[in-house]
């Protein structure tokens, strides 16, 4: 649905996006992560046919950007970093204008549908300038959807939203995914990316890594479980080390962290061995790394490589 080949953008001397190769499938929610200035917004702008790549190519829904921009724009819905609404116009008027520009057939119907879906129907006749940030953001999301685009670009959709509004927007994104839309999200909210995205890309000008969050975790840390004991003893540690399926053991404050390849199969044996050695087990839990941890480690790794 979205494909880039050696996509590169320079602003004068500054290299904003460097040789990006990506492929996003239809119906996928794709997270685009990276520090400030990594080139996320710039990439989105290129993919929405707003700015031209310096070199390389990209396709949206089979249409090449730079060649068939009108159909690219027609198949893309864009939520920009700033809502960018007309403050003197009311919610309905803001949406109708964009619906007309997109050649939407049933303008009133579409406007009503999205105002209602995003909970703004009651406020449709108020000037948007008086809306709270969250309401403006929701209206901007509605605006991106009026022409029912198969591809959505969302630049930081929940930044500046309170937890409740973020939740509404996140749920809404999940609904959009279930409708089969391809969704490309730039975000600094890594928990959100973890929850929403099928795959994430970490970029800093260049692509650092792209994969499903879970795969990234396993790639970096393998699988491990945390064991918490009532009392620690050196013998327990030695016993765990002897087990053939255990790749590594680290001592922690309350017990150990045990790295092993197939926790589903080997955890029972691990527990049996510990119990047999006389250990009093309080908790055994899957070790979870936050996507944040993954993100930092990937960035650090890429820095040491460079």
């Amino acid at each position: 649905m979205i494909r880039t080949e050696h996509l590169t953008k320079r602003f004068g001397k500054l290299l904003a996006v460097d040789d990006l190769n990506l492929e996003v499938e239809r119906g996928e929610v794709f997270g685009f992560l990276g520090p400030n200035g990594a080139g996320k917004t710039t990439t989105m702008r290129m993919l929405a046919a707003l700015i031209a790549p310096t070199s390389g190519a990209a396709w949206i829904n089979g249409k090449r950007i730079g060649q068939d921009d009108e159909s690219v724009r027609a198949s893309v819905g864009l939520l920009t970093e700033n809502p960018g609404l007309y403050p003197r116009l009311n919610a309905g008027e803001n949406l109708s204008f964009f619906a007309k520009l997109h050649g939407v057939q049933d303008i009133t119907g579409q406007v009503r549908k999205y105002l209602a879906l995003l909970g703004l129907w009651e406020r449709r006749t108020e000037a948007v300038g008086g809306f709270s940030k969250g309401m403006q953001q929701k209206l901007a999301i509605a605006r991106a959807l009026l022409h029912e685009p198969p591809v959505l670009f969302l630049d930081e959709p929940t930044s500046a939203l309170d937890p409740e509004a973020s939740r509404v927007v996140r749920d809404f994104i999940a609904t959009l995914k279930s409708e089969g839309r391809t969704i490309f999200i730039c975000t600094h909210n890594l928990d959100e990316a973890d929850r929403l995205c099928d795959r994430v890309a970490v970029i800093k000008q260049r692509l650092i890594r792209v994969d499903a969050p879970e795969t990234l975790r396993q790639g970096l840390y393998g699988q491990s479980v945390r064991v918490q004991l009532r009392e620690k003893a050196p013998a327990y540690l030695a016993r765990v080390r002897e087990l053939p399926f255990v790749t590594e053991v680290f001592e922690t404050a309350e017990g150990f962290r045990v790295a092993l390849n197939e926790p589903e199969n080997h955890n029972p044996e691990l527990i049996q061995a510990l119990v047999a050695a006389g250990a009093a087990i309080q908790f055994v839990e899957r070790e979870s790394h936050s996507l944040e941890q993954v993100y930092f480690d990937l960035l650090r790794e890429s820095e040491t490589e460079a």
Binding site: A52, T80, G84, L85, R88, E93
Partner: protein, 265 residues
């Protein structure tokens, strides 16, 4: 070029203008002042004794061009003055759109709506033509309205000769045909300034600077005491039309989507 999208831009601009009291007041003010000034001066001059206008006896006397000598001094002087005022009326379509035009693109930059706007299938020509039509049409209508209101006023307070001279073809035709071009010309200059600059006040000033030479030109015609006939006005109209077409073309050419979208303040 897609008519629907063009209409959408015009409609949105008008909707926005209607909700902007400041713009409405500013637009209404200039025409009202002009009409008041013209009708007011003629009213007072009509009440002065005829002798005041005789260059031999009166102190407000002035020489008349040969075309007007047959009319008598009082009517002659009023008509000469009205001819100057007519130029002022033709300044309305130049002056009125400046504010709206200077804001046309800068306003979109300020509200950050330019990016979502350019992400729709709208073409540069549709966007700019829409903006130009939206800003110039009210100026054209207000200018025509001022002309008609003044004519009405003159008809009531003055005499048939003065009224007939006000309505003579050289003026009514200029009003009809030059006004739209002048308004579009001024608007297109404003749109250029608005696409190139980031500060609305600077854009207004630059637009005003574009327009000053045009005002100068009209003053030269006046000071040379050229008695305007249809031939001169016809050529003037053609010249204005050609300039307008050129400036509109330039406005579209100079609108670089990418630079406008991403240029830093």
């Amino acid at each position: 070029m897609n008519r629907k999208r063009l209409q959408a831009v015009v409609a949105k601009e008008w909707l926005d203008m209607r909700k902007n009291k400041m713009v409405l007041i500013m637009m209404a003010l200039l025409p009202l002042l002009m009409v008041g000034m013209i009708v007011g001066t003629v009213y007072f001059m009509e009440r002065l004794p005829d002798a005041e206008f005789d260059p031999e006896t009166g102190d407000s006397g002035m020489g008349l061009p040969p075309e007007l000598e047959a009319l008598g001094y009082k009517d002659g002087v009023i008509i000469l003055l009205n001819d100057q005022y007519m130029f002022y009326l033709l300044l309305i379509p130049l002056a009125l759109p400046v504010y709206v035009a200077a804001y046309s693109i800068i306003g979109e930059k300020e509200t950050r709506s330019l990016e979502p706007l350019l992400a729709t299938p709208i073409s540069t020509t549709e966007l700019l033509l829409g903006k130009i039509i939206a800003a110039s049409a009210p100026a054209v209508i207000l200018t025509w309205l001022s002309f008609v209101l003044t004519a009405f006023g003159l008809y009531i307070i003055s005499n048939p000769t003065v009224f007939a001279y006000w309505m003579r073809p050289v003026w009514s035709l200029s009003m009809a045909f030059q006004t739209p071009f002048l308004a579009v010309l001024s608007t297109a200059c404003g749109v250029i300034a608005s696409s190139r600059l980031n500060d609305p006040r600077a854009a207004q000033q630059v637009t005003a600077i574009f327009i000053v030479p045009l005002i100068g030109l009209s003053l030269i015609v006046l000071m040379g005491k050229v008695y305007l006939d249809l031939r001169i006005m016809g050529w003037a109209t053609l010249l204005i039309a050609a300039t307008t077409a050129g400036v509109v073309w330039l406005a579209v050419k100079l609108f670089q989507r990418e630079t406008i979208l991403t240029r830093w303040k």
